[in-house]
Amino acid sequence: MEVSHSVKERTIAENSLVILLQGLHGLVTTVDLRDESTATGRVTNVDAFMNMRLAEVTFTDRQGLVSRLDELFVTGRNVRYVHIPDEVDIRATIERQLQAIHRVRYFGGRDKGRKEFPRAKHK
């Protein structure tokens, strides 16, 4: 599972629906952009701000011109829709992503390692 290395991004993703998009890693999806163009390709990365990286992309621009791109980066703001593939189980995907985040967060056990949310010190 591909969990962000940043605490801030993990927290943002955990509290919004971006986490579902992060679960689409490796799947071929179609992204409709804000400017009416569309990009169909394999999702290689989605961050907490919905910035997306796609690979092996068929890109159809506003005028309908089709081109092929090895890699495409889309800024989160420019995403309008993401077509979710039929085989995706939404609830299971979200739960899997949340579990991946929890595994990273509680790595090392209760009393070991750097804590993500430090416990209040008792006085």
């Binding site: 509290n15 919004s16 579902l20 804000r34 829709y81």
Partner: protein
Amino acid sequence: QQTTNTVFFFFFFIRLSLDERIYVKMRNDRELRGRLHAYDQHLNMILGDVEETVTTIEIDEETYEEIYKSTKRNIPMLFVRGDGVVLVAPPLRVG
């Protein structure tokens, strides 16, 4: 004070629409009708069995009258980015 109350009621009531069909008006003259599966605080939504309607206005060059054209398409499962959402409502009843 007033504004926080309004936002609270919206998120309170939109919960009732989960798994129900809803109507979403979006920016750029778009409308969606679909089943609400999930939403978040940004109004990112997951809609199932969606029908998207895009409405365009063409001006007739001779008569200068406005011709409304709409294009529809169906998408089985759609993730919608919240910043495009203008309003959310129960589906409009026709007739």
